[in-house]
Symmetry: C2
């Protein structure tokens, strides 16, 4: 595995070389993790043509939990907790007399950037323009393996919940139980706060669980994701509580199901990024549903829960092979409720069977 | 309560006026919340001499949970989720023809700052130098009331846990149970991930709970805090499992207890910020315990779990009245375990009874 990190760093070196940088200072935690395996802890990475140095706080817990296991091949610089690791790495860069340094201007605050500039007064600082984020788009087999495990954990937690009694329990409790179950099944943590929305809250984007209790006849929307070794997935399902869904519930669920399927089926290498969104949106709009602000139907997912590529209506790039993305349209009718269905899938060519579905919990309208 | 926000904004206006700014663009979420009551949601605040404008995402959940309740007196600008609210606020500032704008350079990334600069090409942008953070140091009665409730919630959750069977349970499960109990008692959430360390993990700073199970004879260190209406507290306690603590455990607990008490007793208005640290450190060092890197014994606490003032060995300012701080020394003996004891207290003059202790769970060495 430490080889995989070395390969990634070599690709960044090639990018730096081509862009005229003799060093890169990486501060964004997902990028540091991608290049070293180091979990988020405020570490910074200095990469020059010949060297690599990981500056990290000196008081990290020992490795007995495995959570801070690092490739032993990376030279480390232990920095007192009160000191910014980016500044420690910049100081080291200064001693190496680097001249052109790529920095992450979308991550460094103006204050930190100023301090780095002062420490490297003989060098020129230039934005790396999300170079590491671009390297991260297409996943290697280590990453896909972690994503598969994360998806399996979320599926297990959701499956167990569906077997329990739901009526009378609050959104908050159901959300907490799902988070606990994911950790029990080996997740680092929930990839994001679990959202549970019942009744009028169902189908809402970004709903924060409340003390509303599940009632007979409710729609119940669950949005959850596990994080495993830093890699997260996201899945949304909507169920109905009680034996007999109302006709409007059956109809709305069928509509969102169709839209989500159309979005999934539009995925493929070489396909425009906005194709899945268009496919899903056409179906929802055809039935008269337009969301207040047009949200992208999905996005890339990996070390960050929202990363490149974005699958929005105006995103014009092309999808690549081996890119994990979410596809998750939804409809919410104020005062009534709604449906949201989301999967995490990996873009694959048709010859390999098309998109690889990671989140396999059924999308049928289960009556619980 | 909306009056309190208006008073705070007026104080910031006075600061701006004195510093020659005709507008302030506030992006740091704790600062936006302090000035408007708006919980963290990516909102930005524009404050000019006569106006106030809160730019916030247009898809926030409705107010039925109370979590997004805002003072109705603040004009709002709904911004599509895909747009940066700081840029929307900057555009609005441009239309108002502001000339000197204070911005938060410790919060804005270089990229965002550049976009703001482009939108306000006729204005001069200058760092606010943490002006809002400085306003936030001394708390008003609304804030102290919320902190008291947060502390009460954490005490309740911890008290309940102490009544249950602990032997055989994992650190992870105990931590999750404490988080659940705090939410049950009305917390917004845990103020930070609860830390539970048992046996060799006890007394460690920043320990992440593992699957280690509580055993007879262990030290058990719990570090927890509730967040209530945005305000957090922090408390740490160390107990021993089983009927008879070993002599070294009794001795080490007594030592940290004494150091923590000395730190607490050193608090007072007008006292140097480093006095509590010195008082606690002297006792620990007198017994031969020196931590690897000298961590401050405490820090301010409120809308952020670590905020000004810092109570470190080299911090030379003076403490003010009505400033909530933590005091939490600890000793960890590698391979053996340790003790950490922390309280959240409000600095008060002796005439008013001295420091107000918020986290009242006993600090005695309970044998559980």
């Amino acid at each position: 595995m430490s080889d995989a990190y070395a390969v990634r760093r070599e690709r960044l070196r090639e990018h730096c070389s081509a862009s005229g940088f003799d060093a890169a200072l990486i501060t964004r935690s997902a990028n540091v993790r991608y290049l070293t395996g180091c979990p988020p802890c405020g570490a910074s990475l200095l990469l020059t043509r010949e060297r690599v140095l990981l500056a990290l706080p000196d008081d990290l817990p020992p490795d007995d939990t495995g959570q801070h296991a690092l490739g032993e091949d990376i030279p480390r610089l232990a920095v007192p907790r009160e000191t910014d690791t980016a500044l420690a790495a910049a100081e080291a860069a200064g001693r190496l007399r680097v001249r052109d340094v790529g920095v992450e201007e979308h991550d460094l605050t103006v204050s930190r950037h100023r301090c780095v500039t002062e420490l490297l007064s003989d060098a020129r600082l230039t934005d790396l323009s999300r170079a590491v984020e671009r390297l991260r788009v297409v996943k290697d087999e280590h990453e896909l393996a972690d994503l598969r495990i994360a998806a399996e954990i979320a599926d297990q937690a959701l499956g167990e919940l569906l077997e329990s009694i739901l009526v009378g329990r609050t959104e908050r409790h159901l959300a907490m139980e799902l988070e606990r179950r994911m950790i029990d099944h080996g997740a680092d943590r929930a990839a994001f706060p679990v959202s549970v929305g019942t009744g009028t809250h169902s189908g809402m984007e970004g709903h924060q669980p409340t003390d509303r209790r599940v009632e007979e006849g409710d729609f119940l929307t669950v949005v959850l994701g596990a994080q495993y070794r830093g890699y997260g997935v996201s899945t949304a399902r909507t169920f109905v509580i009680g034996a007999a869904p109302a006709p409007w519930q059956v109809e709305l669920h069928r509509l969102v199901f169709r839209a989500q399927r159309a979005g999934r089926e539009a995925l493929g290498p070489g396909v425009p990024q906005n194709a899945p969104d268009q496919a899903a949106r056409e179906i929802l709009q055809g039935a008269g549903h337009t969301e207040h602000s047009p949200r992208p139907v999905g996005h890339g997912i990996g070390l960050e829960i929202r990363e490149a590529p974005r699958l929005g209506p105006t995103d014009m790039g092309k999808l690549d092979n081996r890119v994990p993305v979410t596809v998750g349209p939804g409809v919410h009718i104020p005062g009534k409720g709604g449906v949201r269905i989301e999967d995490t899938l990996v873009v694959r060519p048709l010859e390999e069977g098309g998109p690889e579905l990671l989140t396999i919990t059924t999308k049928e309208l289960l009556a619980l």
